[in-house]
Amino acid sequence: MKKTILLFLALLSLPAAYAQQGVIIRGRIIDKADNSTIIGANIIEYDKDNRIINGTVTNVNGDFILEMKDRNNVVKVSVIGYETQEIDVDPSKPITVKLETTSLDIEEVTVTAQAKSSSTLINVDDRDNATSTVKLDLVDMQDAGVISMTDALQGKVSGLDIISASGDPGSGSQLVIRGLSSMGNNKPLIVLDGIPQFNTPEGFSLSSADQEDIGNLVNIPVQDIKSIEILKDAASTAIYGSRGADGVLLIETHKGRMGKVQFDYQYKGSVNIQPPAIPMLNGDEYIMLQLEEWHNAQGVFDIPPEIAYDRDYPDFYNYSANTDWISTITRTAYTHDHYFKISGGGEKATYFTSFSYINEGGTTISTGAKRFSTRVNLDYHLSNKFLFTIQFNYNKNNIDGNLELDDGSGIHKRNIREMAYIKAPNMSIWEYDSKGQPTGEYFTPINSYQGSGSIYYNPVAVANLGRDDRIENDLQNTFRLRYTILPWLIFRQTVAFSFGGSKAQNYLPYNALGTDWLAWTVNKAEESNNNNSSIHTETQISFNSPFKTERHVLSGAATFISSQSRYEWMNIQSNKIPSTDIRDPSIDGQINWIGTGSGESREIGLLVNLNYKYLDRYMLQTTFRTDAASSFGVNNRWGSFPGISAAWRFSDEPFMKSVQWLGSSMLRASWGISGRQPGDAYARYATYVTAGNGSYMTFPAIVPSQIQLSNLQWESVSSVDVGMELNLFNNRLYIEGDVYQKVTNDLLFKDYDIPRSSGFNQLKYLNGGQLENKGWELMSDYNVIRREKIWVGLNFNISRNVNSFNRLPENFNTERSTAIGNEDYPLRVVEGEPIGSFFGFHYLGVYPSDKDVIARDANGNILYDSKGIPLPLTYTDQYTFKGGDAIYEDMNHDGKIDLNDVVYIGDSNPDFIGGFGATVKYWNIDVSCNFQYRLGFDIINKVAMQTEGMLNRNNQSKATLSRWRVQGQDEAGMLPRAYLNHPANNLGSDRYVEQGDFLRLINFVVAYELKPEICRKLRLRRLSVALSGRKLFTWTRYSGQDPEVGQDASDPFWIGVDQAKTPPPRILTLSISAGF
């Protein structure tokens, strides 16, 4: 095709060459500044009337050949980003043209064009947007060494609560926008360059995908991100209809810019340092504690040889160590991040492409992640009416983790770090023989003093010998066409394909646990393969004001959206693999289990959006979206999600013109509804499956397995928002404030427990109840100094959210965990009260001696039995308290500590969240810091509960050294006595409820940009160096490791418990960015 066109052109030009006096010129175009060649410069021949006659473009070497029609014509060289220059026509020799860069910066050109919202679904300018959204520009932050998207967001946006789930690589953060609004995992919808990222239907077993870092979730390097926009109110999220209920994050990646090709390289090297662990007992202290526990519980007893210091015991050397298990599994890790990008473009096409490689080390041994990703964003103008865009994104993730092993309950799995905390410190890592000579093996007894070797495993052995790896591949392709039918009417078509595959493998050899290799827990390999694919389309007609007048501006769009996704999984598990080196389940082991599954979901949506603006001061925006999804039956299939917002730019009113200090400011109000749909596309069906054994006698047996959901419907969130945006003092101070109320109706409860008398355990989904969040937010930005050489900026934000469960589903029982016991908190929800209130006993200290255990009535009088002997206080009917036991307040004064003595003891919802920061730019130095705070909430310190209880054989913290030991001992802050299997010394009480308030230095950055003159000498476009620190300091009164305890509303009984996850490491990063 191309050839024919060229031939055709050549034929056309032939007669012209005869007619006129043609001449051929050749030459090279270079940059005057650095002498680099310029690709894609236009060499154009103009006739005397300044009409374009002929032209050509420079090739990759900057060379051109132009066959001029007439030697007398003028030839000009032009390329975006350089001054246009006329050439002296001299066909006798190659011409070298040196172009000077324009003083007019390209960026400024784009600024004059009004920025549209990142979302292409609505057709409104950012400036006129009447909804509550916050847009963060990441361009500035990048050179400053921001490590992750979480860093960029944490503490920056009011109403956005970000909590790091754990400090392990690959695990990440939880985002809650304006409070817990549904019974799910409150995961905001992420929209990447206009494509919603929800390609993972439920049933797809990407392990703990909801805990992934948002950066990992969208699977793109942070350097690719240009901006993040957070949509907070339902008027703005309504455009995402049934996916928008938990808020929306719009992420925009960089695009190519017209101009010379630019190469950029960035290296970031980080040191990850684990904060100090809770000090634990050493071997000697542990043995002493254990002996005391046994003695207090049983009196005289046979001392188990492991804690008896018996030199004749063959395992003496294995049980007389002082191992600090935590430090053996902790290390200082390093992360290397290489990022390379190329961008540029001409009038016809612009391109952006990037490659990134990150090798992240975890602070727990044998953990790490490697990620490779690449992106191409290409815009091609087929004509001035036709724009064709291609986006391509590929990621590969290799995540190395450690196996988590069952703790014996069959429900909870213990990770390496949890194990290291409770592992007996008198046990050694390596095995010694009875003479004290090391055998070279890990010390992994089948049964130890603590229990079975597969439950109380050697964490170092499991970390080093076992493996739990995951490889993920993601590919996303987006094609877009934009056709300008009329200057005010635009047609857009988007088709996005994505494909994701993951493979997880784990293996545990027998020598990691010390068990016989035929045991079913070892020499076991498991592999699971998942893949999912989706197609998302958008077809849109949008229009801009066709009126001649500027008084009325009308714009709008109608969009048809469809998406469909499929998933497939396969899992195979086999054991009795005859070798510790063969780690593949397909080898000749014994296959325990093979499973496969697949599924599909589809949905369509129709969105209409209309915006009206009068006199550039009064804005009215409406959206209406209707969605239908395959997860619903015919009667409830369609959901409607309207949104309306209005704004008044009062600063532009004529009567405000006199107010000099007021910049562009507006008042806005919005209302809207957005929704949430069940993730499981097949939940509504009643299904029948083969019964347990599959048969009775010789007959096949089939039984019902799932209840039909006739009432399944959309969960809806409606919200009202009133806000104000103020620009003051010549745009030096920006203040934005919002007041909102958000009400969730028909809450979707997943796997809702129902009475077993129904024959079933759960309803897959139940709609019911009402949840409300209301609150206010304030954000401000203040440019303290704004001069040429120095710039000082401050920012501050604060938000308050109050959550309440207005209505519970019908027949909902508000009390759970009523069988109180050690380490158990009774759970309650109360209509009209927030989720996350703690209930428990009131802890009053420790009984100094047996005679202090006396029951009293409400007036403080001692209670006596019929014989006149004072009654001791008892725990239900099971146990009578003694000296050294914990004192719980007998609220109802009945002489018994039971469920009736449970009181409200705290609340896990923060009163205020927010952050503040400062940036100082002086010459080429840039210093900034950011703080995050959460105030007014309580945490249950589960770690303390498990390491200070002293009722089992787990290792305990140094705090237990100040415990009750003898009758009459009475010291301030003393802990109860050590007592093996005590029934009531560690009940859920306010003993472990602590204030979680904290202020944290999220990041601190010092960046230096090399002066342009020096760069030029180094033949670089730019060079900057930055040093940054992440989470360096935390100010808190909380005694646990980390006060960042997330919110989780997957069940209404949620309470904020510190579960001893790896705390986020302190990270020091050196980053170097260079542009060519």
């Binding site: 389309t537 369509i604 029948y688 006698m697 129902i754 129904s758 079933f760």
Partner: protein, 491 residues
């Protein structure tokens, strides 16, 4: 160029799926959905079998409910924590044995059949009335048996007769009076008995493992006895006696009841067959290496006493097996012969059936009813029949009082039906009779089986007959606000 654009637009427009509702209907790729089910009589049969299968899977539970609170078994070292608490009378509502889920799962399967079988008949022309009523008679019986267990274990329970098909079903059902439930169950059974086959199944296993008229009569008799309707009980047993297909096995072949099972004496037993992957739990619970449940000293004593007076059929090497002085195991589910030697091997190990009713059982029920009606002669006749089969030639001489007969029959049932999940219910029946007149006797029997330290506490606990029932499971109470905890446990 313009036409090119048009072409592209047309292609794109075609790519956009049009909004039709068919496109949004997705059927799960795995499993059957209701829309595809209940189409043929085979579907009905499959769910009936599902109900049998689920009930059979409860064999271990049926054994535990019937034995561990009574005096014929003791727990060994591997006894579960929850089991031990039940045995010791320390039952709290978080004890997993209080979970009634499996019974209600069976009930739901039965209700599904009762609701849907008539619907299937409308679409499947080959489904005859006779066949449909046959299936219905099976599930009515299974449901009746489930409720009979529930009422005996928990007292008052929710009475549910509709399947839980959709989320419109009322899931939060209150408890109904236990006695009323049993009367309703009896009425259903009386109504549906005529549809049950006498012996019309194709194989012997089916005639014993599926519901027959005799199974109906046995369950009716058992319920009637529990409700102290002695005349009804006798009438139901008489119908079984009239059926010549059921005869007592001779003493020499008594052990065939357990191995290979499905004897002429058997009325109903849940079928197991390891080669079909239908494994029982009783072998795992009672074999020598399980150290889970062993014969109690009282059981050993009873059988030993028997052996000295020529109890040869049911004693050592038959009901129990002695390895050493203090090492006895339950032999009924482990042995192959009444020789104490031949242990089940291979697929036989977990293939033994679990007997629900056999002729000796119902005859003793009749004897109990007769004696309560002071028809002592007839009662003595039955007792002697059972005893002579067990090798006792000399007739018993029992004083002519209902109480004396009650004691003798109770003891005879203990020996004849040892470890068959009957003892605790027999004791409860005695304890409840005549307004708890013999409560003390029940306490005396049970307390004799526990260590001396626990005797007093347990005696106090058992004084209140409400404590004979189990508490409702904690999570069940948490899930259903309309349920009230059973009175004894409501603190």
């Amino acid at each position: 160029m313009k036409t090119g654009i048009k072409h592209i637009l047309i292609i794109l427009a075609l790519m956009v799926p049009t909004a039709c509702s068919d496109w949004l209907v997705l059927i799960p790729p795995q499993g059957l959905i209701r829309e595809e089910f209940w189409q043929s009589k085979e579907d009905v049969e499959a769910v009936v079998m599902g109900a049998y299968q689920e009930f059979a899977a409860m064999d271990e539970l049926l054994f535990k409910y019937g034995e561990i609170r009574a005096d014929m078994v003791v727990g060994d070292v591997n006894q579960g924590n929850d089991d031990r608490k039940v045995a010791e009378g320390n039952i709290y509502s978080d004890n997993s044995l209080c979970n009634w889920n499996q019974f209600y799962t069976v009930i739901d399967y039965c209700n599904e059949v009762i609701k849907n079988a008539p619907e299937v008949k409308k679409v499947d022309n080959t489904f005859t009335d006779y066949a449909m009523n046959g299936y219905l008679s099976e599930v009515y019986w299974l449901r009746g048996l489930a409720y009979f267990y529930l009422v005996r274990v928990f007292g008052d329970v929710p009475y549910i007769t509709e399947p839980t098909e959709t989320d419109d079903t009322d899931l939060y059902v209150e408890k109904s009076d236990g006695e009323e439930i049993l009367r309703k169950v009896s009425k259903d059974l009386v109504d549906k008995r005529i549809y049950a086959t006498t012996d019309g199944y194709r194989t012997l296993a089916e005639n014993k493992g599926r519901v027959t008229k005799a199974a109906y009569d046995a369950l009716l008799a058992d319920i009637a006895l529990w409700l102290f309707d002695y005349r009804d009980c006798i009438a139901h047993v008489q119908r079984i006696e009239a059926n010549t297909e059921y005869v007592l096995m001779p003493g020499s072949r008594w052990f065939e009841l357990y191995y290979p099972g499905n004897t002429l004496e058997s009325i109903y037993e849940f079928q197991f067959n390891r080669s079909l992957n239908q494994e029982n739990s009783m072998y795992g619970l009672t074999n020598r290496n399980s150290y889970n449940y062993d014969p109690s000293p009282k059981a050993i004593e009873s059988f030993r006493k028997g052996s000295s007076t020529r109890e040869t059929v049911r004693a050592e090497d038959a009901s129990i097996k002695r390895y050493s002085e203090n090492d006895y195991i339950i032999w009924k589910y482990v042995g192959r012969q009444a020789d104490g030697e031949s242990v089940r091997t291979g697929i036989d190990q977990t293939s033994c059936n679990y007997i629900i009713y056999r002729l000796a059982d119902v005859l003793l029920m009749k004897a109990e009813a007769l004696s309560q009606l002071e028809r002592f002669g007839e009662a003595a006749q039955i007792l002697n029949l059972i005893r002579s089969r067990a090798g006792f030639d000399t007739p018993l001489s029992v004083p002519s009082s209902p109480q004396a007969y009650e004691d003798v029959i109770l003891e005879e049932r203990a020996l004849e039906l040892a470890f068959e999940g009957k003892r605790w219910f027999d004791l409860m029946r005695m304890g409840r009779r005549n307004n708890y007149a013999r409560k003390g006797k029940l306490i005396e029997i049970i307390v004799a089986n526990v260590p001396s330290t626990q005797k007093r506490i347990l005696a106090t606990k058992l004084t209140n007959p409400l404590g004979w029932y189990m508490p409702i499971y904690k999570t069940e109470l948490e899930r259903n606000k309309n349920l009230l905890q059973n009175p004894y446990y409501d603190y």
